[in-house]
Amino acid sequence: MKTTLSVGAMVMCALMAGATSLASAEAAAQGTDVAVASSDGIRSFNAEDVPTFDIAEDGTVDWPTFSGYRRYQSECHVCHGPDGMGSTYAPALKDSVMRMDYYTFLEIIANGKQDVGAAQTLVMPAFGTNPNVMCYVDDIWTYLRARGSGNLDRGRPAKRADKTEEYAEVEASCME
């Protein structure tokens, strides 16, 4: 089911930074699929070939999701707050990713989003030309889905898998 982040939802989200129960309930109702169905040696995917996280029973987080944590805390948190929790300035992305589909997420990050109003103007810049974001957009997605689905706590993941050679190769070519 495709959903887009409505203006109302965005405002509500900005106002209700930290309110999680509603979003979790919605995600469950949509049957958001975060289960691993396949892997290409770089990252894991669900049954619809959408990137997903892979967290082992002992809490070890796959490298791309750990990378997503790092990139989020650098590129996103200065507006969206720590750990995808939202702020006084921008919505809680850990909840947004449970309501929107992967392709909408990519579109908004690449092209940005504006909600211009008298009382406040919400502007998400376009990151399409920024390799620090675009090369890691799948990482950020899986990190936020891990957060939003309740599979990853706040803060820095304590255990992580190592970066694979395949990942390093793709990363290097993207960042060039």
Binding site: L15, R71, Q73, S74, V78, P82, A119, V123, N130, P131
Partner: protein, 598 residues
């Protein structure tokens, strides 16, 4: 542009213009609040004493005003000639309220700005207020447009553009009107913006001079032989030699803080911000002159002296905090002092004429990234902080998470300005009590895109009171904390000290607090509609003293603290153990004005 600036400088330097008479007069009349900083010295002290430690407990709300804007409200209104000038965050509206007619709106200015600028403002769309001189109100908008408005009618007299938002150049600061000029800074250190201070002609808006924080000597307006650092000439190419390659061109050193001015010395003082990126390994060297207190001749822009507080920053200790100018006794001698409570947690006292370093002590005991600042002029480390290897993100290197660094990147104090009372000789300082983990990594530069290069997580200072802030009284002649009041959240509001022996400040929960200037005893508090990140001001109208404060939570504090902090080093049990700002307050801009009832 630069050549024109230099040529104009030569022509103008011989004209003896004294500090702007209208500003001096307006500041000299303590019934007004004529400049954001209270006075040119940035003391934020008022001679008004009708509200005092005996009666402040009876304070009541006299009137209120909604700004109609939800974002974070920094700065304060001005009061001049019975008119109050209230500004807002983006879209940067200005309202002129007739105080003799129950606050009726005389005029409003509502600029049209491209909303794209919002997306390149790091950390909320705050604005720290308008300035006044020569019958004009000066507004420096988010998109770096400076407008001069007729103070009585709101008519636009002139406007000029100072920067390019498509490259990440934006503005959050007020401007400094001094003599025949308006001095303005620039924001965008997190976008690789190269900082500068620029002087515009007050009457026409024409650019007079521009002094970059980094780069070739002629673009920084320095004289290698005459401009000094701790008493010694800085020498040729002092900035270029402290960077690797051309990194200085995208190397930050922005100038978004407060500016102070000494009319006798004719010097303007301000601080330059962090070097870009936040990953120190990408910019070896001292990264001059980021993180520097600068003293410049107002007429020419030429630098008299620099002091670099944090050479080769490794923690984003953005050195823009205000420089407060006071005359106090040190070792039995009256000195012309400059006091700077820096983001890095050290309180510096310098001779503001020569730039000599007199005191450098920690103003929060939690500060741990450096052991001390070397005070021995004979040492090759003179004036340098002695970095602790464990907390050095450069020594630990890229892709290593350095943990337990105090203070966090928001500093032991951010821009929220301190106040000074000449009656007590003390500085009243709103502070943060927050530590961090910091992991730098490699990033590439794209114009107009964030250029950060570090992951960080923040948490309240461990082994302390559990809160994220303190409000302290500081003795700058000794470098000692006189007393310290714990606060649940960072104190993000500018303080006000008055001759009534009362000090005022706001809290992120939304309280206006009044405390005894001697003891710190809480005398009064009132919860305003939203969290306070604005600065307390005071004025007198028809013989009655008022206290004003803008509410409207937001800014860096609203982003970092809204969801509450967690300490990853304390295990999962601590998650959610710290207060979340969102449990206490909501968005909304409002001015609340207080008075003691008749």
């Amino acid at each position: 542009m630069l050549k024109r600036g230099l040529a104009a400088t030569l022509l103008l330097s011989s004209a003896p213009v004294y500090a702007n008479d209208s500003v001096m007069q307006a500041i000299g009349d303590s019934t007004q609040w004529a400049i954001q900083t209270g006075d040119y010295a940035n003391t934020r002290y008022s001679e008004l004493d009708q509200i005092n430690r005996e009666n402040v407990g009876k304070l009541q709300v006299a009137w209120t005003f909604s700004t109609g804007v939800l974002r974070g409200h920094e700065g304060s209104p001005l009061v001049i000639d019975g008119i109050m000038y209230v500004h807002t965050p983006f879209p940067n509206n200005v309202y002129a309220l007739d105080l003799n007619n129950e606050g009726r709106i005389l005029w409003r200015y509502e600029p049209q700005q491209n909303p794209d600028v919002v997306g390149v403002m790091c950390c909320d769309t705050v604005n720290r207020g308008v300035a006044y001189a020569d019958g004009m109100i000066f507004l420096h908008q988010a998109d770096t447009t400076i407008v001069a408005l007729d103070a009585k009618s709101g008519e636009v007299k002139w406007s000029v553009v100072n920067g390019d938002p498509t490259k990440g150049e934006t503005n959050t600061a007020t401007v400094l009107p001094v003599k025949d000029k308006i001095l303005v800074g620039i924001s965008g250190g997190e976008f690789g913006v190269r900082g500068h201070l620029t002087a515009y002609d007050m009457q026409t808006g024409e650019q007079v001079w521009r002094a970059f924080s980094t780069g070739p000597d002629e673009e920084m307006l320095v004289d290698p032989e005459q401009t000094t650092h701790l008493g010694k000439p800085i020498g040729p190419n002092s900035s270029l030699e402290s960077w690797e390659g051309d990194q200085w061109q995208i190397g930050g050193g922005t100038t978004w803080g407060w500016y102070s001015y000494d009319p006798d010395l004719n010097l303007v003082y301000y601080g330059t911000g962090n070097p870009s990126t936040w990953n120190p390994s990408q910019r070896p060297g001292d990264n001059k002159w980021s993180m520097t207190i600068m003293a410049r001749d107002v007429d020419t822009g030429m630098a008299k002296w620099f002091y670099q507080k944090t050479p080769h920053d490794e923690w984003d200790y953005d050195g823009v905090n205000e420089n407060i100018l006071v005359d106090q006794e040190i070792d039995g001698q009256m000195r012309k002092l400059l006091v700077n409570l820096d983001r890095n947690g050290f309180g510096y006292t310098l001779d503001r004429e020569t730039g000599e370093l007199l005191v450098a002590e920690k103003y929060d005991p939690a500060v741990n990234w450096a052991t001390e600042v070397v005070m021995d002029p004979e040492s090759d480390q003179y004036g340098r902080p002695q970095v602790v290897a464990e907390y050095s993100t450069a020594q630990n290197g890229e892709d290593t998470n350095t943990t337990g660094v105090c203070p966090a990147a928001l500093g032991s104090k951010d821009q929220q300005p301190a106040a000074f009372s000449p009656k007590t000789g003390l500085f009243y300082v709103p502070t943060n009590h927050v530590c961090m983990d910091y992991e730098p990594y490699r990033v590439s530069y794209t114009a107009g895109q964030p250029y950060v290069g570090a992951t960080l997580s923040m948490y309240p200072a461990p082994d302390s009171h559990g809160g994220m802030g303190n409000f302290i009284a500081w003795d700058a002649t000794k470098g000692e904390i006189k007393w310290s009041l714990p606060e649940q959240f960072s104190v993000w509001s500018g303080a006000l000290a008055t001759a009534g022996d009362v000090v005022f400040y706001g809290t992120l929960e939304g309280h206006l607090k009044a405390i005894d200037a001697e003891t710190g005893e809480l005398l009064y508090r009132f919860k305003t509609p939203s969290g306070v990140i604005g600065n307390v001001m005071t004025y007198e109208l028809n013989g009655k003293q008022y206290i004003g404060i803008l509410s409207g939570v937001g800014g860096w504090a609203g982003i970092g603290l809204a969801a509450g902090l967690t300490n990853p080093n304390e295990g999962l049990g601590a998650v959610g153990g710290y207060a979340a700002l969102s449990d206490y307050t909501e968005l909304g801009g409002q001015l609340t004005v207080f008075a003691v009832p008749d």
